[in-house]
Amino acid sequence: MSKGPMRTEWMIWFDHEKCTQCHGCEVACRTWRGLDHGVWFRRVGNVWRGGYPQVKSHSVSLGCLHCVAPGCAAVCPEEAISKRESDGRVTVDRELCTGCGACLDACPYGVPQFGPAGIMEKCDLCQDQPGQEFGPPCVATCPGDALSLRAVKIREKAAHQKSMLAWMASAGG
């Protein structure tokens, strides 16, 4: 893959106009990856904007965005989190992780999960999973194609990160 601003990175893109909040992605992920109770690699949420009767609700489906400059990796004292040069994927080495939780504090999206073992885990784009060539289960199961696995330019990914943050910031009600 090329370097510099034209370099592309993988991510799961979310288009809120196409999400019906069916939660299919959440449960597909949890079942295919065998996640424990309380562990979520992806969460679907609702964001309110405006007040009655002009109130609008919007949908958000959020997993790890594999950030351009991952705050989690920067703060990890064990250097357990790394970003792969080749595809931009952010992964965690569960052998090195001590479960200190610094990454969770650093992640503006609240992505890192700590199951019963207390070791960080999160979305890895299912790249090492059987059947991954047919797309991650969250993407494959979406009835509205709101989720898509994409290789995007760094600028695009940064913009998507920013827009997801804006959605989260406007949540509440």
């Binding site: 909040q21 299919g24 949890r30 009655y52 609700s57 059987p130 047919f134 494959a140 199961t141």
Partner: protein
């Protein structure tokens, strides 16, 4: 994924893949039966993927579908046939064999049939399921008319539409304007056709109007929200008719040629001004007029009328008024409008034995869902679910002696839970058949554990445009018997073997597939089922459709003279209002203002949710974690006035009962209204959540409503009220502690 990809994926994971039909929202039920690939590792069902080849879901699967393995292996599964040995409601049982259970049921039914007559048996049905016709078949074979239909779902719309415009025109395509009215296009089947059509309309840029009391995700995606008070849709529709007729936005050519009673309609709707409707519905008169004009003046406009209008005493009026709106504006069977149906091709053989229904059977209905003059209707003869239970208490016109409840929970799925509990206690004989623990079980005389559809190799699933064999994914975890086996076995034990294929499932399947020139074996050889491409639409089929005969005995046509009944002479002759009227629910802001001091908020409930099938599946951890607690949607203004924070436990009290639930401050709801999902009782052992009480202090919304025979029902189509007035208060620490 497609079949080839599923095989490849399974191989890479050391798994086996089985193509089948999803069983989570009741196969053939509201979701439509989605095609799935089920993956099995070391004999254990582990996960599913959506089947690209199925025209229903086209590769997608919803949360429920993905959670199926947890449902199949749940500790709440029923494991053995049981016979009650303790008192009713106590929950003491002993194990018996399946055959012994069937023999005891047959013996009781035989004895009661000779003592009290065939009509002493009633069966309760859940929503329409792939086994619904087996219930109807058994009842006809037995001679009982008492097929217990909910009285609050789908058939109410079918009835009112058919007797007004000859058909229930649910389909539409390529509309420029769609009004989703009391409709939840997503939750009823998140990856099935209505949700897909909703998404496609949105992508196409169609204008979407949503009429309902609160903002759900579909409303979030709509262009206009019409925040109507629960139960007031008839007033809204009448005012829309006032605008459309008063401003002459009607299709005179269509009215002159195909409708009867326009002048009487015109005079009648003059009284229903938008200003009048605003006081009742809470929708600003300006918005009512705008929506009416927008619908009437948009050529390609459709109304998708949902289940929300079927829960109130003026339900029939709301539905008829909407049907009339479609007709007078000429929005019927033209491109982009509501389309009249053509009889489906490629249908299996009907098995409900409706040609054996007699006038005597109609006469013996214990609590007719529709007046006897209109029986049978499309599902056969039907008694209203609640009226069957009520007959046990009142013994009027006679007490039902045995109730069989396959896949339905009378205590939480139906109104009047307090009376239902008393009826179940008094009932002579009660049989529950289900896959998992239900709330009614402590009252059952016999409990039959059923296999899920993942554990058996029948039936076939036929939905318009697609047919597929159910394939066995895993060996039965507990009982090997399905609900279909139950009917075949009981049929044989009763001596009705001739009507039940002598107990042979293979013969049962092959007999039904015969019109398609298929056997079950042939169908099973097609792993992705058989899809039939849709026929090109034929428009303006008025001559044919308006002259269709009704299913009543004698087969009189739906529409006298082949004309749309704007003024309904058929209903008038049977003693019902010829024109739609407005009738207040038993308790409401405008109907009972004297109650507002004590009960200032309006309560209603949601019929569907994104993660549960009605009152089922609260025991499935991955579904429960999405929405662990019963939550009351309350507007932040109403919450502030009561010092209620998000997640507080609150007491919700109506004149009929009270619930303890969690508050969710919800900006997208009318400030004068609170709403909650129905069906809460079941705990989830894996998550350490206990069951809730069924009556006061639990979370069962069905205890909250009036069941007053004079006020709670729609007089024509049963439709029981799901509106009342309540007060909401924050619970004290000790009261609220879990």
């Amino acid at each position: 994924m497609n079949y080839r990809q599923a095989i490849q994926t399974a191989k890479a994971a050391g798994e086996k893949v089985v193509p089948t039909v999803c069983g989570m929202c009741g196969p053939g039920g509201p979701g439509g039966g989605c095609g799935i690939y089920a993956f099995v590792k070391d004999g254990r069902f582990v996960k599913v993927a959506g089947m690209d080849e199925s025209p229903v879901n086209r590769g997608a699967v919803c949360a429920k579908g993905h959670a199926a393995p947890q449902w199949v292996y749940s500790p709440d599964r029923l494991t053995l046939p049981l016979r009650r040995i303790g008192k009713k409601g106590e929950g003491k049982f002993e194990k018996i064999t399946w055959d012994d259970a069937i023999a005891r049921i047959a013996e009781t039914l035989q004895e009661q049939k000779s003592r009290y007559g065939s009509e002493s048996l009633a069966m309760l049905t859940p929503a329409k399921r792939s086994y619904s016709d087996y219930i109807a078949r058994f009842l006809v074979a037995h001679g009982s008319p008492n097929y217990g239909h909910s009285g609050i779902c789908a058939v109410q719309r079918a009835f009112c539409f058919m007797y007004t415009i000859g058909d229930w025109p649910r389909q539409y395509s390529d509309s420029d304007l769609i009004i989703y009215w009391g409709r939840q296009p997503i939750y009823s089947g998140p990856v099935a056709r209505p949700a897909k059509a909703f998404l496609a309309a949105k992508q196409r840029g169609a204008k979407i109007i949503a009429i309902k009391p609160s903002v759900e995700p579909d409303v979030g995606m709509a262009d206009i929200w019409v925040p109507v008070r629960p139960g007031t849709d008839a007033a809204l529709a009448l005012a829309m008719l006032h605008v459309v007729v008063g401003e002459d936005l009607v299709d005179h050519d269509f009215i002159d040629r195909w409708c009867s009673g326009f002048h009487r309609l015109k005079a009648h709707v003059r009284q229903f001004t938008p200003a009048w409707a605003e006081t009742i519905t809470g929708v600003p008169e300006k918005q009512i007029a705008e929506v009416a004009r927008m619908y009437a003046t948009t050529k390609r406009a459709a109304i998708d009328l949902g289940n929300g209008v079927e829960h109130t005493p003026s339900s029939n009026d709301a539905i008829r008024a909407v049907a009339i709106l479609m007709a007078v504006t000429g929005h019927l069977d033209r491109p982009g409008t509501n389309l009249l149906n053509t009889p489906p091709k490629h249908s299996p053989k009907p098995i409900s034995l409706r040609d054996r229904i007699t006038p005597e059977m109609v006469d013996k209905l214990v609590g007719p869902e529709f007046p006897k003059a209109f029986q049978p209707f499309i599902e056969g003869t039907t008694s209203a679910y609640y009226r069957i239970l009520e007959s046990v208490l009142t013994e009027k016109p006679y007490p039902v002696r045995t109730i069989i409840a396959p896949g339905t929970q009378a205590l939480v799925s139906n109104r009047g839970s307090r009376n239902v509990a008393a009826a179940l206690e008094k009932l002579d004989f009660f049989v529950v058949a289900d896959v998992a623990r239900t709330t009614d079980i402590p009252y059952a005389d016999i409990v039959l554990p059923l296999a899920t559809s993942y554990e058996v190799d029948h039936p076939f699933q036929a939905v318009p445009g697609w047919i597929m064999a159910t394939n066995r994914v895993i060996d039965p975890v507990h009982s090997p018997k399905s609900i279909f086996d139950f009917f075949l076995d009981l049929g044989v034990a009763m001596g009705y073997g001739g009507d039940f294929w002598e107990g042979s499932m293979e013969r049962a399947m092959d007999d039904q597939l015969e019109p398609l020139g298929l056997t079950m074996h042939d169908l099973r050889m097609k792993p992705e089922g058989m899809a039939f491409p849709p026929e090109p639409p034929i428009y303006e089929k008025y001559e044919t459709v308006f002259n269709r005969t009704s299913p009543r005995l004698g087969g009189a046509p739906f529409l006298p003279g082949g004309k749309v009944q704007l003024y309904n002479t058929t209903f008038e002759a049977a003693g019902f209002t010829p024109l739609p009227e407005w009738r207040e629910p038993p308790e409401s802001i405008t109907g009972t203002p004297e109650l507002l001091d004590r009960y200032p908020l309006l309560l209603s409930d949601y019929h569907t949710s994104k993660n549960y099938s009605a009152s089922w599946q609260r025991n499935v951890p991955r579904l429960r974690e999405i929405a662990p607690h019963p939550e009351l949607h309350i507007h932040p203004e109403a919450a502030d006035a009561r010092d209620i924070a998000d997640g507080d436990w609150v007491k919700v009290a109506s004149p009929h009962g009270w619930m303890k639930v969690k508050a969710q401050r919800y900006p997208g709801i009318r400030p004068d209204t609170v709403m909650i999902l129905h069906g809460w009782w079941q705990g989830c052992r894996e998550l350490g959540i206990a069951d809730y009480p069924i009556l006061d202090g639990g979370a069962n919304v069905n205890i909250m409503y009036s069941v007053d025979p004079d006020k709670a029902y729609d007089p024509l189509v049963t439709a029981m009220t799901s509106q009342t007035l309540v007060q909401v208060t924050k619970m004290q620490e000790q009261e609220g502690a879990q």
